[in-house]
Symmetry: C2
């Protein structure tokens, strides 16, 4: 049975704080960074996060419910993509700068 259709917030329901919260977590930020990099629909299984499957599911849901990603089922896979156009319209430059920042931080030597 089937919740084969996934709930997504409408553009006008997307809240800045929810988006920032969604992005403020390493695994989720990595998903977003990856989606931005490849620029196409990507199955959950293609991105390997350092967490269990169930935790992964949780993170994807947070991203979707915040309005950051779009998810559709295709066969057994669930394809994810960035809601770039909508986010850009809503918060111009935000996603670009977050992704650029994530890329930079990735390249930066980590002080630890």
């Amino acid at each position: 049975m089937s919740t084969r259709i996934l709930e997504h917030p409408d553009v006008e329901e997307i809240r800045l704080e929810a988006v920032l919260h969604a992005l403020a977590e390493p695994a989720r930020l990595e998903v977003v960074r990856f989606l931005a990099e490849v620029g196409r629909e990507v199955a959950c299984s293609e991105i390997d996060l350092a967490v269990s499957k169930s935790t992964g599911t949780h993170h994807y849901r947070v991203l979707r419910e915040a309005g950051v990603i779009n998810q559709v089922y295709r066969g057994t896979a669930k394809l994810n993509s960035l809601r770039r156009a909508e986010l850009d319209a809503l918060f111009p430059g935000l996603i670009d700068s977050v992704i650029a920042a994530a890329d930079r931080e990735r390249a930066r030597p980590r002080p630890s």
Copy 2:
């Protein structure tokens, strides 16, 4: 007595995720938005948040520890300012777009 000097992270210690996390909370985002708007040092008491004093203290600390704001004591007041130059150098465009987004969201009709 006195921790009259406040600990701030060095620029290279500022982590993107911590910044995003700091910004992902309404009261804290409001502080940042306000600081950006007035563009000068502002005492905690000048920004009225809808929370108690102790909660306020907590939020300011989160912002400072994330590297988002600078805090210095002056007399009985504690002055806050955005670490704009440093954040801009680290994550170009990020703070600008977050603030622009916060301004927009503020103006947007809230669906509730």
